[in-house]
C-alpha cells in the first residue's frame, strides 16, 4: 500500500484550540484589526467554500461588506444532507467553538450583529451540547464588549434546504423552495437583508487562517485548492470515517489508503457529485482543478451493482425535489422509469442516450443546484458502466 503521497493534516480538528480558559484570544486579536485587512487575508489565503460550490470566501465577504444596509446577517449552513457526507457532524461535535469564532470574525468584517446556525433536524441530538458551548461563547465575547449573537435553528428533514436561498425561506417560516438568483444572498438574503452564508467547515477555516496566518495556510494544498479538506469516507472501505487531508491529491493515492483492494469506482461529492471509475483513478485530482467535492467519498468494490447505486441516487433526488420547476420534478421521475425500462429490456440501450439528453437539459433549465446536478452522477455512471445499466 502506498500512502506516502497522501498528506494528512490537522488544521480543522487540531492545532491550537480556539478557546483557552473560556476565552477566545483570536477573537480579541481580530476585533482590533481593520475589517478590510482581514478580508484581504481571506482573499489571499485562497479559501474557497467547503459546502460544495467552491465560491471564494473572501470575495463573498467583500461583496457583503460593501452593502450599505445597516442590518446584515451571517448564516452557518449545517444542513449537511448530501448522501455520504458526515464531516460537518464531526466538526460540530468536536470543535464547535471554532465555528462560532469564524462566524464572529465574519460579523466583524461585514458589520453584522446577528448570526444563525441552521442545523439539520437529523442532528437535533447535538443541540444541548452546542447550546452549552454557545452560551460560554456569548459570555466571553460579551466580556470583550463586542456585540454579536448567534442563534441555532433546526431544519426538519429536507435536503433542498441546504441550498442557500431555500434555507433562508425555511428560516422565514416558509416552504423551503429555492429562490431565483440573482439577487444573491450577499445582496438580498435572510429577510431580504445582505447575508453571508457559509458552510460549517468554511467558518472553521477562517478562524484557523487568523490563528495560523495566511503564509502558513497557503503552504497547504495547490494553487487552485488551498488548505486542507475534511473528507467523509464510506462504503467499501476498511477505514470508514472522517479524515482531514491536503487538497489536490490524486484519487489513486486516496484509494490506495482507503480502498479495500478491489475498488471499482469512487463517487466523489455525494449523489450530486461524480462517479470516477477505476481506469481514471490515476489521472483524477481531488480539488477545484479536478473533481471538486464537499467531502463525500463513497467507495464501491466490484461486488456492487452501479445500476443499484444510480437507482438509489435517482430515488433520492425525486423524493427531495421541491417540485417547484418542471425539468426537475418530471425529469427525475422520467429518469427513474427510463433506467428501469432499459434494465427490463422494454426499451433498448439507445434510450440511455435520450435520458442523457434529458439530464443535459435539466442542467440548463432546472432552477437550483439540485435539479442541475442530477446530470453529474447520471452521466458519469451511465457512460462508465453502461453494460451494468443494460444487463
Amino acid at each position: 500500500m502506498n500512502s506516502n503521497n497522501l498528506k494528512k493534516t490537522d488544521v480543522i480538528f487540531g492545532i491550537w484550540p480556539c478557546m483557552e480558559d473560556n476565552k477566545y484570544p483570536i477573537l480579541e486579536a481580530v476585533i482590533n484589526r481593520n475589517p478590510d485587512d482581514i478580508i484581504k487575508d481571506i482573499i489571499n489565503s485562497g479559501l474557497k467554500g467547503r459546502g460544495g460550490a467552491g465560491f471564494p470566501t473572501g470575495l463573498k465577504w467583500k461583496f457583503a461588506a460593501s452593502q450599505t444596509e445597516s442590518e446584515k446577517y451571517i448564516i452557518c449552513n449545517a444542513d449537511e444532507g448530501e448522501p455520504g457526507t458526515f464531516k460537518d457532524r464531526e466538526i460540530l461535535l468536536k470543535v464547535p467553538e471554532k465555528i462560532f469564532a469564524g462566524m464572529a470574525i465574519c460579523s466583524h468584517c461585514i458589520k453584522a450583529k446577528k448570526g444563525f446556525v441552521y442545523l439539520r433536524g437529523e442532528y437535533k441530538f447535538m443541540l444541548p451540547q452546542l447550546n452549552k458551548v454557545l452560551e460560554s461563547f456569548h459570555e466571553s465575547i460579551r466580556k470583550t464588549g463586542y456585540d454579536f449573537e448567534i442563534k441555532i435553528l433546526l431544519g426538519s428533514g429536507a435536503y433542498v434546504c441546504g441550498e442557500e436561498t431555500s434555507l433562508m425561506e425555511s428560516m422565514e417560516g416558509k416552504r423551503g423552495e429555492p429562490r431565483n438568483k440573482p439577487p444573491f444572498p450577499v445582496v438580498e438574503g435572510f429577510n431580504n437583508k445582505p447575508t453571508v452564508i457559509n458552510n460549517v467547515e468554511t467558518f472553521v477555516n477562517v478562524a484557523m487562517i487568523q490563528k495560523l496566518g495566511v503564509a502558513e495556510f497557503v503552504k497547504l494544498g495547490t494553487d487552485d485548492s488551498r488548505g486542507s479538506k475534511v473528507f467523509s469516507v464510506s462504503g467499501d472501505t476498511p477505514k470508514p470515517g472522517v479524515f482531514e487531508l491536503e487538497l489536490g491529491m490524486k484519487l489513486s493515492d486516496f484509494v490506495a489508503e482507503y480502498g479495500d483492494g478491489d475498488t471499482k469506482a469512487v463517487q466523489v461529492g455525494g449523489a450530486s457529485g461524480f462517479c470516477v471509475p477505476r481506469k481514471r483513478f490515476e489521472d483524477t485530482i481531488i480539488g477545484f482543478e479536478g473533481v471538486p467535492t464537499g467531502g463525500s467519498m463513497m467507495l464501491f468494490n466490484s461486488t456492487r451493482s452501479m445500476y443499484n447505486v444510480l437507482s438509489n441516487y435517482l430515488d433520492f433526488f425525486a423524493e427531495e425535489s421541491c417540485g417547484q420547476c418542471t425539468p426537475c420534478r418530471v425529469g427525475c421521475q422520467q429518469l427513474i422509469q427510463g433506467i428501469k425500462a432499459v434494465k427490463k429490456g422494454s426499451k433498448n440501450e439507445d434510450y440511455l442516450d435520450s435520458l442523457l439528453k434529458l439530464t443535459e437539459s435539466m442542467k440548463i433549465t432546472a432552477k437550483c443546484g439540485l435539479g442541475q446536478s442530477v446530470a453529474n452522477s447520471f452521466y458519469s455512471i451511465v457512460t462508465n458502466f453502461k453494460e451494468e445499466m443494460i444487463y
Binding site: 444532507g81 423551503g176 456492487r304 433520492f316
Partner: protein, 154 residues
C-alpha cells in the same frame, strides 16, 4: 379551552408570533404531540394570524413535520446507498418482525411508527436509524430488537 389550544398559545408566547417563529413552533408541537393534528394547525394559524392553509403549506413541505398520525416513537431507518450496502434490509425486517407492522405503519398501541428516510449523516456507521432525535448506528438485527425492547418498557 383544549390542551392543544393551551400548548400552542404557550409556544407562541415563548417563540413569538412572527412568521420566522413558525418552524420552531411547528417543531415543538411535533415534539409534544408526535405529529401535527388539524386542530393544532388551526390553533397555530389563529395565534400567528395567518391562514390554516399557509400553516399546512409550510408543514407539508418538511418530512419531519408529520401531518399524519404518528406513534410516540418515530423510527426512521436510513435508506442511503451505503445503508443498503451495509444491511439495511435485514434491519427493516427485524423491526417489522418485532413491531409486527410494515414500513409506513404505526403500532396499534400508538407507541411506534416505522419509516424510512434519506441519509441521516452516519454513512461511516451504517446501518443507522433515528428514534425521534436519537441516532443509533452500526445496527445489527439483534441490536435493533434490544433497542425496541428497551423503548417498549419506557
Amino acid at each position: 379551552m383544549t390542551e392543544t389550544h393551551e400548548l400552542v398559545k404557550q409556544l407562541a408566547d415563548k417563540y413569538g408570533r412572527d412568521r420566522a417563529s413558525l418552524m420552531p413552533v411547528l417543531q415543538a408541537v411535533v415534539e409534544k404531540q408526535n405529529y401535527l393534528t388539524e386542530e393544532a394547525m388551526n390553533e397555530i394559524a389563529d395565534q400567528f394570524g395567518i391562514s390554516a392553509a399557509q400553516v399546512f403549506g409550510t408543514a407539508s413541505f418538511y418530512s419531519f413535520l408529520d401531518t399524519e398520525a404518528r406513534g410516540k416513537y418515530v423510527i426512521r431507518v436510513c435508506k442511503s446507498i451505503i445503508a443498503e450496502m451495509k444491511g439495511k434490509k435485514a434491519i427493516i425486517k427485524a423491526l417489522e418482525n418485532v413491531l409486527k407492522i410494515s414500513v409506513g405503519q404505526t403500532t396499534p398501541d400508538k407507541k411506534f411508527t416505522l419509516l424510512e428516510t434519506n441519509d441521516i449523516g452516519w454513512s461511516d456507521q451504517e446501518p443507522s436509524m433515528l428514534i425521534n432525535e436519537t441516532p443509533f448506528t452500526n445496527l445489527t438485527p439483534e441490536k435493533v430488537i434490544n433497542i425496541i425492547n428497551e423503548y417498549s418498557s419506557k
